[in-house]
Amino acid sequence: MLRNIAWVVVVVCAALIQTTWPDFLKIQGVTPELVLMLVVYFAIASGEERAMFTGTLGGIYQDVASKVALGHNILSLVIVGYAVGRISTRLVTDHPAVKAGLVLLAGVAQGVLYTLVDYLQHPKDTLVITTIVSVVVPAAFYTAVITPFVFIALDWVFGERKQPQGSVT
């Protein structure tokens, strides 16, 4: 129960921090995707179900904050959460670089999906290639760079502490 409450609080805070990211922390106008980072984390730690629900909750906040049609962010995050959840079952290493790489790929995938949906809604106003090159990829890189630090903090909050196991001889 407490764990679920902590999960809700963390996801909501991440969504709010992302939508109110300070200007002096932006790089070339790019902000990191904190909600996507949580989706990948929970995909690795708890599986695709938790990841999809994280994407849904975070996506709702992002859609309401950015005043786009409800479902825009949710769809991309849910799909990415399912995919990463599936991929993570095949991961054999716990190296932070691998996780950062996974976040990078997830960021690019989520950005491409988001841009495509945007293009389908507003074909005349959306420049797909330009958006992917100038916004999606830099944001994915920014997100990947701060991933290790955020994952360490999330491990401290959600990580299961291994109980010492006695043995009977």
Binding site: L16, E49, L70, G71, V78
Partner: protein, 312 residues
């Protein structure tokens, strides 16, 4: 049963399909004012308010601390500029108040001048004030002559004693050179010498001496100019402040408190011409009825000590 078993086995895919389907339906409908969206917007707003309020407070606190250290010099310069601006504003405000007070005084003088159509009045400014002798900013070139009356809307100020080219001296009732023919307004009683004059020893300001013992002069009586004086008759000179008599004497004398305080004056009016009141009431104001505003009273005996009279 088979369906529930399939759903249990492929739970993740079912969730994915459900969420994707709902998202697509919302995207395709494209309406932003649906009940669900309004409700979600409300929930998001309410739940995010504490966070946003805390963030704003934190930003303000960090900004304040940063400004305290980082912008110290800039803030210090700004404070110095504000001090300078404040002193300038205080000076401007004081000047404004002074101008407003001057404006009120000049309006009073103007209103008085308009009510006295039979008098030709020259407004003057007091430029010096020393021991009851005033210096005004008008002189011979402006038509000022000795023995002309100086008045304000409150009453008598004094008499012009000397007129230079561009300035003139005015003796007020605080100066011993000033003598003004006056009477008690209530019963027109005059002193034996008919004048109000300044105190010789500064024990009081001015007095009316040689009042007959039989004459009724009381405390508070208004003393006004008499028709024999330079001044238009009936102008307030002062009020009786005390009535004194010596045992066995035939005369009484009254201390007079002047109506006008010369030490609080900034402007005054010099009577350069006047029309006799009877003429004014009968004929109105005509150029040929104007006369010089000088005294009609007979020359008073010289009361100075003999040494002063014969001094070289």
């Amino acid at each position: 049963m088979a369906i529930t078993r399939i759903m249990a086995e492929h739970r993740a895919e079912v969730i994915l399909g459900t969420l994707s389907f709902l998202s697509l339906v919302s995207l395709l409908s494209g309406t932003s004012a649906t009940f669900i969206q309004r409700g979600l917007t409300r929930v998001v707003s309410l739940s995010s308010y504490p966070f946003l309020a805390a963030r704003t407070s934190l930003e303000e606190g960090v900004g304040y601390t940063f400004d305290f250290v980082g912008r110290y010099d800039e803030l210090r310069e700004e404070a110095d500029e504000n001090k300078l601006l404040r002193s300038r504003l205080q000076t401007t405000l004081a000047r404004g108040e002074e101008l407003a007070a001057e404006n009120r005084r000049l309006r009073d003088v103007l209103d008085f001048a308009r009510t006295e159509a039979r008098l030709t009045l020259t407004p003057v400014r007091i430029i010096e004030n020393l021991r009851g002798m005033l210096t005004i900013d008008r002189g011979r070139m402006h038509g000022i002559k000795p023995r002309m009356a100086v008045i304000t809307e409150d009453g008598v100020v004094g008499i012009v004693t000397e007129a230079q080219d561009i300035t003139a001296s005015v003796a007020t009732l605080h100066h011993r050179d000033c003598r003004i023919a006056a009477m008690v307004h209530r019963n027109r009683i005059r002193a034996y010498d008919g004048v109000v004059k300044a105190s010789p020893d500064y024990s009081y300001i001015c007095s009316m001496e040689f009042i007959d013992m039989k004459n009724d002069v009381r405390l508070g009586d208004l003393v006004v100019t008499s028709p024999e004086s330079n001044f238009p008759a009936g102008l307030p000179v002062g009020t009786v402040d005390a009535v004194r008599e010596s045992a066995g004497a035939l005369w009484r004398w009254a201390e007079i408190k002047p109506a006008v305080d010369p030490y609080a004056l900034d402007e005054a009016l010099v009577v350069t011409r006047s029309v006799p009141e009877s003429t004014f009431l009968a004929n109105g104001v005509h150029r040929d009825t104007y006369r010089e505003a000088t005294s009609l009273a007979p020359t008073m005996p010289d009361e100075r000590p003999i040494q002063e009279r014969l001094a070289p």
